[in-house]
Amino acid sequence: MSITLESKIPSGPVGQKWSRYRQDMKLVNPANKRKFDVIVVGSGLAGASAAATLGELGYNVKCFCFQDSPRRAHSIAAQGGINAAKNYRNDGDSIYRLFYDTIKGGDFRAREANVHRLAEVSVNIIDQCVAQGVPFAREYGGLLDNRSFGGAQVSRTFYARGQTGQQLLLGAYQALSRQIAAGTVTMYSRTEMLDLVLIDGHAKGIITRDLISGAIEAHSASAVVLATGGYGNVFYLSTNAKGCNVTSTFRAYKKGALFANPCYTQIHPTCIPVSGDYQSKLTLMSESLRNDGRVWVPKKEGDNRHPNEIPENERDYYLERKYPSYGNLAPRDIASRAAKQVCDEGRGVGPGGRGVYLDFSAAIQRFGRKKIEERYGNLFEMYERITGENAYDQPMRIYPAVHYTMGGLWVDYELMSNIPGLFVIGEANFSDHGANRLGASALMQGLADGYFVLPQTIGGYFAAQKNGKYPADHPEFRKAEEEVRARLNRLLSINGKKTVTEFHRELGKIMWDNVGMARTESSLMHALERIPVLRQEFWENVNVLGSGDDLNPALEYAGRVADFLEFGELLAYDALQREESCGGHFREEYQTEDGEALRNDDKYSYVAAWEYKGVDQFPTVHKEDLKYEEVKMSQRSYK
């Protein structure tokens, strides 16, 4: 298959591209829509909103999730908020400013046209969610409240206490539920996608496993939409839910979809530090805390005094010192690296010295404890539950952790991958955040793709399609089913000595130590040597008990870790070829004199989209050059 990357960006000025696209796009006659079956995999913000909207439009939708209910997808855990260029604050915000902030925040590695469209539809998202009954925070006058967030100097973030993701997801879940009741969407929960099926080069269905009965099933459709989230769990410890995995997108990659920029991983600066080896996941403390919390470490190395006993002049408020104009609100990648730096200097706090303080005493003095409770009460409670410490009386301890992945399957302007009929939305695609995502932009992108972009663009594919779908007993489905069965049987028959968790933990350690917050050529080479060895050991020595014919969490997990063991290598490989530092990808060899990321726009201003060539084979890179017509590329400065 020869691959050409056609981004299909509409012509014209960036501000008019989306409206031009909609004027020119082909439509599907309303009476014909029910003839098209669409598979949506995933029921988070992107998947649920897409499935609901496609159902409303009259398509036949099948929606899949591995959880017991679509309401549990991990979008639910997003805390802080959702951006929209409403300018309700009258503080100078605009669609252009949100567009610019997102491009700059992404370190000039995102596609301009997509990002502008995102900023345009951001305002519709808020309207839609309010109409659904999402209980956003309000002021006494009854109007919507906003807060500010990292990487922006305007207040454009809408929120519902510390549970914005939950409320937006429940809004989408309810819209989805309405369509399930109306019969336009059939929901398959506790069902996992294990392969993508291509017929004549088009995505025409998936193979799934019913997690309760173990039944392997073929589902045929006119198009497949992947909304399966990110791959942060390749690091074992992350803020992702335990079930989050790369399997759907990685299976699509193995079938020919290109995986773009996997090395762009976001490390979130404000997470609760690791407390021991048994640790199963990391918990994020919303970035919104940095609005009122001040980040510091002791000036002296190895200062073990209780934080409240360290006098003001012996504290280093390093973010305020290094970035006076953004201070504690410096973007995530910058704040994370700064924390690593002070800890590397031996000034970290807490067990193991991998932590910094986030201190609310000044804010409590200024606004009173009640106001702080109102803003962050649930976060402080969560912190106390996990650490046993009260953050009203002493500073929180925080440390960066893997949180979000900007990379994903390559898509064009229509959110279609290089495989015709395979669409990818939300965190699962690569498109809008460049090398770094700004806070409160993930919810925005998931809902933009699901409510407003994909339901429009998918029509263009259908309008040009004559062969809708194939019967589910087509030989290609049968073949894929057999492959899935064989792989599951192989996992169950190894009967080795190590558990799946042990392999996952080992892989995570390789990734975090060598492909984490700071990467070097030699660390990446080391990871690329170690991962295949671990993968081989996995296939010889993993122990997966039980059978494939009933609920078997070990078997589900083994399949996901097996994919991570291949995917980790791709991530490291991408990081190795990108000989520059940008956003969430920091190569120690490429930094300015004061330790900031040093981009190389002449050589690396492209999207690296990888083509699968086989296990233990090097993938091939395809490059999409990023052209900046509207924005002038500059070195990102938050000083």
Binding site: D127, A131, Q174, I180, G388
Partner: protein, 250 residues
């Protein structure tokens, strides 16, 4: 610390289950309850025994996946806390801990501690939404909503659908869950339009699914990890009576 666990093991919905005793050794106080079970499961696998199946996902107390009855109390001894957020510092060396699945005929057991809660989804499908399709929504600030109302709606909307309320109730009633959604939407102007239809349909589905009625003992509120208040049940009863009456008149 070292603990003795009595865990409900059941192969599937068709077979009967029983308690099996396990030893959990070298448990650190910093571990979460689920991390403690992870440790036990790793040891079981090493011994060639199948791990204890339990639902879990976000482990941040928000997805509503996890839930087990710990020493007779849904989500365990700590109030306003999901199982995943319960930490072992609330137990002491030598404790015996009994772990069971939610017990309610509307939540059939799938395996070990995993139950089928899809009845909750069907209740939402019967009316737990505002019927607005994508597009055409008025400006977000077109309808001002008093902060007090928005706050109350948010209090109710925090429900995570874990099912602890049903597990705690001697009648296996889902009134707290259903009333939280009825209140959340009913308190907002956007939800007013369909309020009558919503409450009638959701209550009818709740009954069809076999959940019991409310006898005001309040155990649901006590077990709720999100502190959803009994006031919601009163609010739903009012809305239900009103809707029924209006329906009859029509």
């Amino acid at each position: 610390m070292n603990l003795t666990l009595r865990v409900w093991r059941q192969k599937n919905a068709k077979t009967s289950g029983q308690f099996v005793t396990y030893q959990a050794t070298d448990i650190s106080a910093e571990m979460s309850f689920l991390e403690m079970l992870d440790v036990v499961n790793e040891e079981l696998i090493k011994k060639g025994e199948e791990q204890i199946a339990f639902d879990h996902d976000c482990r941040e107390g928000i997805c509503g996946s996890c839930g087990m009855v710990i020493n007779g109390t849904p989500h365990g001894p700590l109030s306003a806390t999901t199982t995943c957020q319960l930490h072992m510092r609330f137990f002491k060396d030598g404790d015996t801990i009994t772990i069971e699945p939610w017990r309610a005929s509307s939540f059939p057991i799938i395996k070990d501690l995993v139950v089928d809660r899809t009845a909750f989804d069907r209740i939402i499908q019967s009316g737990g939404f505002v019927s607005v399709s994508t597009g055409g929504a008025p400006d977000g600030n077109a309808i001002p909503i008093p902060k007090e109302d928005a706050d109350k709606a948010m209090d109710a909307a925090q429900c995570i659908g874990c099912g602890a309320c049903v597990a705690a109730c001697k009648n296996a009633s889902a009134m707290l869950f259903v009333s939280a959604k009825v209140s959340h939407l009913g308190l907002l102007p956007q939800g007013h339009v369909e309020a009558d239809r919503r409450v009638l349909n959701m209550v009818a589905t709740m009954d069809e699914e076999g959940f019991g009625n409310c006898t005001n003992t309040g155990s649901c509120e006590a077990a709720c990890p999100k502190e959803i208040s009994l006031d919601n049940i009163a609010r739903m009863n009012r809305a239900y009576a009103k809707a029924l009456f209006k329906n009859k008149l029509a």
